[in-house]
Symmetry: C2
C-alpha cells in the first residue's frame, strides 16, 4: 500500500510510524525490583512480633508504574524453612497466567533459597495491591500497594483533578503467628484467634502496652508512630485507599472531610460523596477530599473501624495535618465510625458504586452460563469449614495450571462442583439442620469466550441469627457487578433488576449478610483463576472455587512454576 | 559344585540353604510406619505452644526394630507452608545415602502436601534417635527414639543382663517459636532467646505457671505430669538415655542409684559406674541400675540439670517408683546435679568411655589424612557466627549428594575448606583480635577407603574467659575416639598419646571447653555426610563441615530427593 503513495506521503508515513514506535518505547518501561523475603522482628503496633518482610519492610515497597509498563519482580526466598508465593491483586495477567502467584492454582511455592521472577504487564491505570497467596502467609505481613498511573494523553486519563495524592493501606493485625492462627482454625474444637489486636494504617497501629506481655511493647518506637498525611489548605487530594485485612470489614473516615469516591478496583466510578467509606479486604478505592475545613489551624483523624462483626479492636488512626497547624494528634477523640451492624449504610454504598459516565464498558446483554453459589458454614469431622453448594474447597498440591496444561491425571478431582443449589427451598435465615459437608478440589471449566454469571448467596452461619459479609475476589478478570440484594435470590425474578446500563467493573465485591450479589464476566483470559472470599481464614476453611478457561490457548509453561506434587521432576 | 555331591549331601545342602533363607526371612523384618507431620498445640511443660508433631505427638513414636530389619517411614508433610526433612541419627545408611534426611546435604526438603518415604536398614543393635534436620526445626518438637534389639543369638548380643528396660529422651524447650529463635540469631545485634524455659524428660517438663503469660499455662494437665518409671525392688533395669537438646549439656542422675554405663551411641562400653551421667545433645547411653535402695518404701527422682553453661533453667524431673511405695513425688527436693562448671567431672567420663573388652574393634593404626579444625566464634557484617579454620559453614540449596553425583556445576563452592590452622601460634585462651570471617559451602572430598583423623580444637569465644562444650556429630559413620585433652593440641606430641587399643566407637563426641578431641574414621561409606556441632543454634550459625567419599560408587539416585535449587526440574 505504501508503494502506491507519492514520495512525500511515504516519508510522512514512515515518520509517523517511527514516532509511534518511539513514543511506545518511551512509555512502556520495564521496571525491575529485587525483593528478599525474610522474617524480621517488627513492632507495627508497638508490640514486637515476627513478620514476613520484603527487604526488611512490612508493608513492602509500593510498586509505581505507568499503564503499559512491564513489572519484573525477582523474589528471593530467605524464610529458612517456609515457602512463599506472591499474588498481584487486580492485575489480570493477560498472557502471563503463570505469574498470578497463587500457590496450588498457578504455581508451586517458591522454596527457601530459591529465586522466582514474576513478569507481568500493568495494562490499566488504578490502585492495586500485592500479597502472599500461600496458606495464611498474607496475614504475616507480606503485602503492599501497586499504583499504576494512566498513560499520558491516553483514553484512560482520570476524569477528575487533584493537587496531591496520599496512599493508605489498611490492615488488621494479630500478635499470634499465622501458624497459631491456622492450627487453631483446624483444631477440634476450633481455637479461634479472636478479634484483631490492632488495625494498621500503612503498617502502623497502636496497641495499649499495658495489655501486652511484659517486655514486648514499646509505645515510643517511631516504627509505630501514627502516619501523618500533610495537606495544604484549599487544595484537593486524592487518597488511594486499599484494604488487605485478614478478617475485618472496615469503615474508613477522614474526620470532618466528606470523601468523593472516584475509583474502585482500578475503574473510574460515577462520583458520589460519603462521610465514611465502607471497604472490604481486597478492595481499593480512590476518594477526593478538599482540605477546606473551616478550622485549618488544627489536625484531623484518619480512622478505620471494624464493621460487620461486633468489634473488639481499637480504632486504627492516622493524622491529617494542615500546613501551619501544630504537629501532634488532633484535639478530638478519634471517630468511632458507623454502627458495626448498620448493614444498610454499607449496602447503599455498594449500590451507589457504578461506572463513570465517560467510562462505561457495557456488559454483554446475557450470560451463556449461570452458576449459583450458596455460601454456608459447615462441619467435617467436627472441624468448622465453609462450603459452596455444600462443597468445601481445598487446594491441590499440584498447581491446576500445570496439571491441566500438561495432562497430569489424578492431580485433582475431575468431577466439577455443583452449578446450583436448592434455591427455591433453602432457608437462608435458618441454621442448617445437617451442617456436614465434603471437600473437593474440583473446578469449573468455562467455555473460552463465554459469558458467565455468578450469583453468590449468603446464608445463616452455624450460630443462630448470624450472617457475615464476605468480600469475593476474582483472579484474572474484572467482573461487572450487576446487582445486590438482601434476602433469598430468585433466578426467576432478580435478573430482571440487573443494572446492565452502567455497572461498575471490579475484582472484589461484597456479599452482604443474608444477601446476594450477582456478577458477570467474560471467560476470555486463558488460564486458571481462583475466585474466593478474601478473608484469609475463610479461604483457608474452604470458601472458594476455581475457574479454567482456554487452557489450550496457553503456550508452553515456564518450568519455574513447577517442582511440587506431580510436577516434581519437571513434567 | 552341588552337582559333584552325592544325593543325600545335596539334599542336606538344600535344606541348610532353605533354613538360612527362612531364618533370615524371620529375622529381617520390614517395619512400616506412616507419619503425618503437623503443627499442633501442645503443653509439654504445661505451657501451650505450637509444636511440630508426628501423628499429633511430640516426641514422636519410638521406632522399635531388630538388628537387620528394614525400616520404612512414609512421611506426609501437613505443615501448610513449611517443609521438612528427618534425620535418622546414628543410623549409618550404608547403601542408602539418600535416606539420611539432611536437607541441603542428602535431599531437598519435603514440601507441604508431599509424601517422602525413608527406607533404611538398622544394621546394629543400640539406642538411636531421629529428628528434623532442616533449619532449626528440630527444636520445634520433631524428635524421637529408635531402639534396635540385637539379633537373637548373634555376635552382637548384649554383654550384660537386666530384668527390665526404661527409655528416657532428654530435651530442652523454649516457649518461643523456632522462627523467633532463628531470626534472633541472625539479627544485628543478636537477639538471643535466652536459656531454655524447661528441661523435658520424654516430652514432659514443669514450668512455673505463675511466670507464664496469663491463660497459657495449666499445671493440672496430664500432658505435663512427670513421667513415672516403675521398678520392682531387687531387679536390675536398663535405662536407655538419649539427648536431643537444642542447646544444653546435661547432668542426669537417678537419685540414690549409681549407674553402670554399658552402651554409648550403639556400642558396648567397658562398664563403669557414675553417680550422674554427663550427656550431650546427639549422644545416647545405656546404664544399668539396681532397684536396691535401702529404702524401697518411697520414690526417687530422675533429674536432668544444665551443665557447661551457667544454668537458668529449673531441673527436669521424673519419678522412679518402687513397687509398693505410695504414688506421688519423692519426699526430697530434686537433685541439683554437679556444679555446672565442673569440667573435669565431665572430662573424666569422656576418658572413661572405652570399648567393651569383648567388643573391641581396633582402629586402623594410622591415618592417611589429618584434618585439624579450630572452632571459633566470629562475626560477619556484625552477625555472630561460628567457624572452622575461619570458614563459617552454610548449606547449599542444592543437596551436595545430587549436585556431585549428577555434576551440577555451581551448586556449591568448589574450593575445599582449609585442612588446618596456625596451631603453633593460635592462642586458644584469648579473644580473637579480628573475629571477622567468611562463609563457604565448600566440602572435604575424602579418598574412598582412606583413614581420616579429625582433631577438633576448642577456643575462647568473643567474650573473655569463655569457652563452651560442643558435641560433634558425624553422619554416615561411627568414629573411634582416640583422645581428649584440655589446652592446645600439638600434632607433634598428642598423637602419641592416642588410645589405639580399645577406643570406643561413637557418632557424637564432646569437645570440652578450651579442649581438643581426636577421632578417626574410615571413609568407606559412599555418600555425602555432614559433621557438625549438634547444638541447633551452632550449626545454624556455621559450626559444621561436610565430607564426601565414594560418590562414584553410588548407583542412580532416587528422584524423590530432588526438586530444589539446581535439581528443580529433576536433573
Amino acid at each position: 500500500m505504501a508503494a502506491s503513495l507519492p514520495g512525500a506521503g511515504r516519508r510522512l508515513l514512515c515518520c509517523l510510524f517511527l514516532c509511534l514506535l518511539l513514543s511506545a518505547a518511551v512509555r512502556a518501561a520495564t521496571l525491575h525490583h529485587e525483593w528478599e523475603i525474610s522474617y524480621q522482628f517488627k513492632s507495627p503496633d508497638c508490640v514486637r512480633k515476627l513478620a514476613v518482610t520484603i527487604n526488611g519492610q512490612t508493608p513492602g515497597p509500593t510498586i509505581r508504574a505507568t499503564q503499559g509498563d512491564t513489572v519484573v519482580v525477582r523474589v528471593s526466598n530467605s524464610l529458612l524453612t517456609e515457602n512463599v508465593a506472591i499474588h498481584w491483586h487486580g492485575i489480570r495477567q493477560i498472557g502471563t497466567p503463570w505469574a498470578d502467584g497463587t500457590e496450588g492454582v498457578t504455581q508451586c511455592p517458591i522454596l527457601p533459597g530459591d529465586v522466582f521472577t514474576y513478569t507481568f504487564v500493568v495494562d490499566r491505570p488504578g490502585t492495586y495491591m500485592y500479597h502472599a497467596h500461600y496458606g495464611m502467609q498474607r496475614s504475616a505481613g507480606l503485602n503492599g500497594l501497586i499504583i499504576v498511573a494512566a498513560a499520558p494523553g491516553g483514553r484512560d486519563a482520570e476524569p477528575f483533578a487533584y493537587d496531591g495524592e496520599h496512599d493508605v493501606l489498611l490492615n488488621d493485625w494479630w500478635h499470634n503467628s499465622t501458624y497459631e492462627q491456622a492450627t487453631g482454625l483446624a483444631s477440634v474444637p476450633i481455637r479461634w484467634v479472636g478479634e484483631p489486636h490492632s488495625l494498621l494504617i500503612n503498617g502502623r497501629g497502636t496497641f495499649n502496652c499495658s495489655a501486652a506481655v511484659a517486655g514486648t511493647c514499646d509505645a515510643t518506637l517511631s516504627e509505630c508512630a501514627a502516619p501523618v498525611f500533610d495537606v495544604v489548605p484549599g487544595k484537593t487530594y486524592r487518597f488511594r485507599i486499599a484494604s488487605l485485612t485478614s478478617l475485618s470489614a472496615l469503615n474508613f473516615e477522614i474526620e470532618g472531610h466528606p470523601m468523593t469516591v472516584v475509583e474502585a478496583d482500578g475503574h473510574y466510578v460515577k462520583p458520589f460523596v460519603v462521610d465514611s467509606l465502607s471497604i472490604y479486604s481486597g478492595e481499593t478505592y480512590s476518594v477526593l477530599i478538599k482540605a477546606d475545613h473551616q478550622d485549618p489551624t488544627r489536625n484531623y483523624w484518619l480512622a478505620s473501624n471494624v464493621v460487620s462483626r461486633q468489634p473488639g479492636t481499637p480504632t486504627g488512626t492516622a493524622v491529617l495535618s494542615y500546613l501551619g497547624a501544630p504537629r501532634g494528634p488532633p484535639p478530638t477523640p478519634p471517630p468511632a465510625g458507623r454502627a458495626w451492624n448498620d448493614t444498610m449504610y454499607r449496602f447503599q454504598q455498594s449500590v451507589a458504586t457504578v461506572a463513570h459516565p465517560a467510562h462505561v464498558e457495557p456488559p454483554p446483554p446475557r450470560a451463556d452460563r449461570t452458576i449459583l453459589l450458596l455460601n454456608t458454614q459447615n462441619k467435617i469431622d467436627g472441624r468448622i469449614k465453609w462450603a459452596l453448594n455444600n462443597v468445601s474447597f481445598t487446594l491441590p498440591h499440584t498447581p491446576y495450571l500445570v496439571a491441566m496444561k500438561n495432562g497430569l491425571l489424578g492431580a485433582f478431582d475431575q468431577r466439577p462442583p455443583p452449578e446450583t443449589y436448592a434455591h427455591q427451598t433453602y432457608d437462608i435465615y435458618a441454621v442448617q439442620k445437617n451442617p456436614n459437608t465434603t471437600t473437593s478440589n474440583g473446578l469449573y471449566r468455562l467455555r473460552f469466550g463465554s459469558v458467565v454469571d455468578v450469583v453468590l448467596q449468603n446464608a445463616n452461619m452455624l450460630d443462630a441469627n448470624k450472617s457475615e459479609t464476605h468480600p469475593w475476589h476474582l483472579h484474572g478478570h474484572d467482573f461487572w457487578v450487576l446487582g445486590y440484594g438482601i434476602g433469598r435470590f430468585d433466578p426467576a425474578v432478580h435478573p430482571a433488576t440487573y443494572n446492565l446500563r452502567d455497572p461498575v467493573l471490579k475484582n472484589t465485591v461484597a456479599v452482604h449478610p443474608y444477601g446476594w450479589t450477582a456478577l458477570r464476566f467474560k471467560a476470555d483470559n486463558p488460564g486458571v483463576w481462583a475466585f474466593h472470599c478474601h478473608i484469609e481464614a475463610h479461604f483457608f476453611m474452604g470458601m472458594g472455587v476455581v475457574f479454567e478457561e482456554g487452557i489450550e490457548r496457553i503456550a508452553e509453561l515456564p518450568p519455574e512454576i513447577m517442582g511440587c506434587g506431580k510436577t516434581k521432576g519437571g513434567h
